[in-house]
Symmetry: C2
């Protein structure tokens, strides 16, 4: 059900196509919620059936036709009802890399270090890009009224990645310490 509210939240700010919503997911929502485009399109169809959104199809000459979705009053009501009155579920993480880390005692120390170095680079790039995005959208820490949510969650994402990197450096040090002892 939560994907639905994520989409309604975005549509409450601006009408958009499924494609645009997918892009927005990749830019900002991905830091706390993941979804594929196939899932987004499916959910948009269901919401339209239930009267939470309304769409208009726009013909284009050079590109495929597009379908612009807008939230309805009923949709916004249900969004607020969920936000204010539904229980907050516990967060769920699925981290493939950490799962491997939890079994590092089964593999050679140098391979373990390798995994962490690769992951460190990914997170470094992610941090750089998110920082850039944040600077572009909130110059000097200023934000518009309807950007409060984004402003708060992007800061979360930045801190999360920084904390990841610092943990990663610590873990690499621990493994190198262990590697030295093995020689």
């Amino acid at each position: 059900m939560a994907l639905r509210y994520a989409l309604l939240g975005l549509l409450a700010k601006n009408e958009a196509t499924g494609y645009e919503l997918t892009q927005q997911f990749k830019e900002t929502v991905i830091h706390f919620w993941t979804a594929h485009h196939t899932q987004i399109y499916r959910e948009l169809l269901k919401m339209e059936e239930e009267g939470l959104t309304q769409s208009k199809t726009v013909q284009q000459n050079d590109y495929p036709d597009k379908k612009i979705y807008a939230i309805t009053d009923k949709g916004f009501e249900q969004l607020l009802e969920w936000m204010l009155n539904k229980p907050v579920n516990a967060p769920k993480l699925k981290d493939d890399l950490l799962l491997r880390v939890s079994m590092f005692h089964f593999i050679p120390t140098d391979k373990a270090i390798n995994f962490l170095e690769t992951s460190k680079n990914h997170h470094k790039m992610g941090l750089e890009m998110t920082k850039q995005w944040s600077d572009d959208h909130f110059p000097n820490g200023t934000y518009k009224e309807n950007e409060l949510g984004e402003y708060l969650t992007i800061e979360f994402a930045l801190r999360y990645m920084e904390s990841w990197l610092s943990w990663c450096n610590w873990a690499i040090k621990e493994l190198k310490k262990k590697g030295e002892l093995e020689k």
Copy 2:
């Protein structure tokens, strides 16, 4: 497929029942992978069929019978094959609270602060419990050979929760600042 490897990883350390594996998930794995007991039982059945585990049933007088699973050589081979040669998937987070935070501009500031205060308490308790667990299992930062993975991932969990708390305090301050301006 990853749940399977999480279970094999635990079984490679100690044979265990589905129930015990569920407990272990709640204690340590939950910091980077979530699974319900129903999923765990089903996966154990499938793995047995494929010869990755072997089980023996133990009769008990006061409690229900239990089924103790052990990893097979084939199971351990496949675990290593996955660890070393399969691509590492991107991490996936689903955080209901952050999803709401991303829409805080739709609700009154005091309600938003309330959400954060509640969540802060949850994370505080989680941090306390995890700290306790960590101190019990790794006194003075010492760990046994086959505990390396747990040692590294528990440190991750501690840092994650600390970073969460510090973000939460920052966000509450931002909201209070905003609340003042609105008066």
